[in-house]
């Protein structure tokens, strides 16, 4: 096996290639630029779902506030773009030219201090990567050092999402309020609204997504990944073996935050604005379903989950707007009750064995990972065995939380 192959694993490699073909070849060829841009938008949610696979699927930490990090990334990018769009020439009719229009409407006469550094693109990139991680770090240290577990963590992160939304809406002079930051035009003079720009951004987005997928894959394959799984299953045993459990949790939560923020930044670039609706509690929970549908243990599943749910949402809401919520609700319930391992589990349990019957044996490594080289340590956890494990681990969660 070559180097990449041994890093990803042969089975995984084939699946990575299929996804890459889908994103970089099939979609751009099959879709007009309008639909392609929409797929680009869906793929930005895949970043969040990927983050959730890491911290929820592997770390056992369910965050209902991933929208917060998506939002921070998106707002950082939006602030930079807005400042570029608010050049003194463009805003000459304002009473204070050179500041964003919504500040002018709110009688601000100079740029607030925390906006100033966002005139620099380097700083913006830096902020998108560091700020969410730092914020996640503060939350995580406070919570995990005190061994706050699953359910509590979920509820507190949800409250944080609620707080941030109210804050952003309330401070409209500084944030653009409920309207968000709109009318973003250029990135370093490059018009991001044209069809060509959107196509280029789609590919950039796809590349970044693959970058994140590789990182996630690396984390999972590393010793850290195995420790995370061990922790999720039996936290005390890992602790008694001498590991600092909270440090791993903090790390994985911060990593998930950064990945989400990259998605947020790409969202702003492709959609052309950012608003507090993405920070709220509703979208944050919806993002969890992308991950759950894809399979909470499957990093590639996260991408498919985000694509399928959003595609369904768009086509449903175009054709039967009234039925959309029924379908979405049924999806939540169905995934949890019937397919706890999502599409990935479905594939492993039903489709792969079926395929195996019809495909010559030497190509089996493409279909399934059940081959001698890849023991069932990682993605393999599908089907019955996994749901058994799952039950045990989740049963443990509440008791961790309480005491």
């Amino acid at each position: 096996m070559n180097k990449v192959g041994s890093f990803i694993g042969r089975y995984q490699l084939s699946h990575f290639i299929i996804l890459a073909l889908l994103i970089f070849v099939v979609m751009p060829l099959a879709l007009d630029s309008f639909r392609l841009n929409m797929v680009g938008k869906y793929l930005t949610y895949a970043f969040v779902a990927l983050g959730l696979v890491l911290c929820w699927g592997y770390g056992g930490i369910l965050s209902l506030g991933q929208g917060v990090f998506f939002g921070i990334g998106g707002y950082c990018m939006a602030m930079f773009l807005k400042l570029e769009a608010s050049s003194p020439e463009n805003t000459a009719i304002q009473s204070t030219p050179g500041i964003p229009d919504f500040m002018d409407w709110n009688q601000l006469t100079e740029l607030p201090w925390f906006w100033v550094p966002f005139q620099s693109f380097t700083f913006t990139i830096f902020a998108i990567l560091i700020l969410p991680a730092a914020f996640a770090f503060i939350i995580a240290v406070a919570m995990f050092k005190r061994r706050v577990g699953g359910v509590y963590f979920a509820i507190i992160t949800q409250a944080i999402a609620a707080i941030l939304t109210i804050l952003i809406i309330g401070q409209q002079g500084y944030t653009g309020g409920v309207n968000g930051i709109t009318d973003l035009r250029t990135l370093h003079g490059w018009d991001i609204r044209t069809d060509e720009a959107k196509t280029i951004l789609y590919f950039v987005n796809g590349l970044l997504l693959f970058g994140c997928l590789f990182v996630a894959r690396y984390i999972i394959k590393s010793k850290l990944g195995r420790l995370l799984v061990a922790m999720r299953e039996r936290e005390d045993r890992v602790r008694f073996s001498g590991y600092d459990v909270s440090a791993f949790k903090i790390f994985i939560f911060c990593a998930a935050a950064t990945i989400s923020a990259i998605g947020g930044a790409m969202f702003t670039l492709q959609v052309g604005f950012m608003s507090p609706t993405f920070v709220g509690t509703g979208p944050s929970i919806e993002m969890v379903i992308f991950c759950a549908l894809g399979g909470r243990l499957a990093i590639l599943g996260a991408v498919y989950g985000a694509l399928v749910v959003n595609w369904a949402k768009t086509s449903f809401s175009e054709s039967f707007p009234e039925l959309w919520l029924f379908a979405m609700g049924a999806l939540f319930i169905g995934v949890v009750m019937a397919f706890p391992n999502g599409l990935a589990g479905l594939y492993q349990t039903y489709i792969a064995p079926w395929l195996q019957k019809y495909v010559p044996e030497k190509f089996h490594w493409i279909i399934t990972n059940r081959n001698p080289e890849e023991s069932g340590a990682e993605i393999a956890v599908a089907g019955e065995t996994a749901s058994e494990d799952e039950k045990k681990s989740k049963a443990g969660e509440l008791s961790h939380a309480g005491n």
Partner: protein, 309 residues
């Protein structure tokens, strides 16, 4: 901050704000009580709690329509009590159905109950929208519930506020007695503390689960019914309550009813005091933030059940 007001005015401010805080407290307790049972006792994260409350509100709306259409005017004033009883049983029955069809398969996966009940809440919202329309419905209140009682020139006490408070006290006492004294309450606590052992001594755990869940939902229904007096009744109104409700329960220490009451009291008084001196939005942010920070420092909440597991 206080300089603008005279001494007499300040006294009135504190009296009135204290009372506003008490109403808010009652609202919080009513919201949280059902959830304290479902989440605190059973460990089920019921994200559809708000929608169960709204079901209670819609039941009240329908009852009021039936009363005004078919029954003599003289007994219209009493419809509210009938509505609350109906709300309790209808939401309770739906709760039992939900427990039977969804929740009972998920007891070992609390985080998954969160997702499933969120899905349920979406479906319930859409049902309300299809049946009652997207607009809010106006629930007509009996006359005796409107108006206020003037204590002094400055201090006036809304009658429906008193009604909510009395209702809260009655329900809280009833729930507390039930959990402590009744057979179901004892069985519930036994099941919560040690399910296999409870089953071993002959408790029908499935039945206990179903009744407990139904009870929690039923109380949500009563709360929703009472909230038609002070809030709006629309398909998405339930969403407004969910974050607050969970915070109250968690802040109180999930498995303790006293904790829920104490936490509702603390949060409501803090919020209503801050609302008076700050703008409404900032008061809300500060209250939530304080609660979250305290929870980070003291994750077990105000009161926690001390026991070995």
């Amino acid at each position: 901050m206080f300089a603008d007001y005279s001494m007499a005015e300040l006294t009135s401010i504190f009296a009135m704000q204290g009372f506003a805080g008490l109403i808010l407290f009652s609202v919080f307790v009513l919201m949280a009580l059902g959830l304290a049972i479902i989440f605190g006792q059973m460990g089920v994260i019921n994200m559809a709690h708000g929608e169960f409350m709204i079901l209670g509100a819609y039941v009240t709306y329908l009852t009021s329509n039936v009363f005004s259409a078919y029954l003599p005017e003289s007994i219209y004033g009493s419809y509210f009590f009938i509505a609350m009883i109906l709300a309790f049983f209808i939401t309770g029955a739906l709760g039992a159905l939900v427990e039977w069809s969804i929740i009972r398969h998920l007891y070992k996966r609390p985080l998954d109950t969160l997702l499933a009940t969120w899905g349920l809440s979406l479906i319930m919202q859409q049902i309300y929208r299809s049946v009652f329309g997207a607009r809010e419905v106006g629930v007509t209140l009996p006359d005796w519930l409107m108006g206020s009682y003037a204590i002094t020139d400055m201090i006036e006490v809304p009658i429906n506020g008193i009604f909510v408070m009395v209702l809260t006290i009655v329900i809280t006492i009833a729930v507390a007695l039930m959990m402590q004294r009744s057979r179901l309450g004892k069985q519930t606590r036994a099941v919560v503390q040690n399910r296999p052992m409870a089953a071993a001594v002959g408790i029908n755990t499935e039945k206990v689960d179903r009744l407990t869940f139904a009870l929690g939902c039923g109380i949500a229904g009563i709360a929703g019914s009472a909230f038609t007096m002070i809030g709006s009744t629309g398909p998405t109104a339930g969403q407004l309550y969910i974050v607050d409700t969970f915070l109250v329960v968690v802040f109180g220490g999930a498995s303790s009813l006293i904790g829920t009451v104490a936490s509702a009291f603390t949060i409501s008084q803090a919020q209503s005091t801050m609302e008076f001196f700050l703008s409404g939005s900032m008061a809300k942010v500060l209250t939530l933030l304080t609660v979250v920070i305290i929870l980070m420092l003291r994750p077990e909440g105000l009161f926690s059940l001390k026991m070995r597991r």
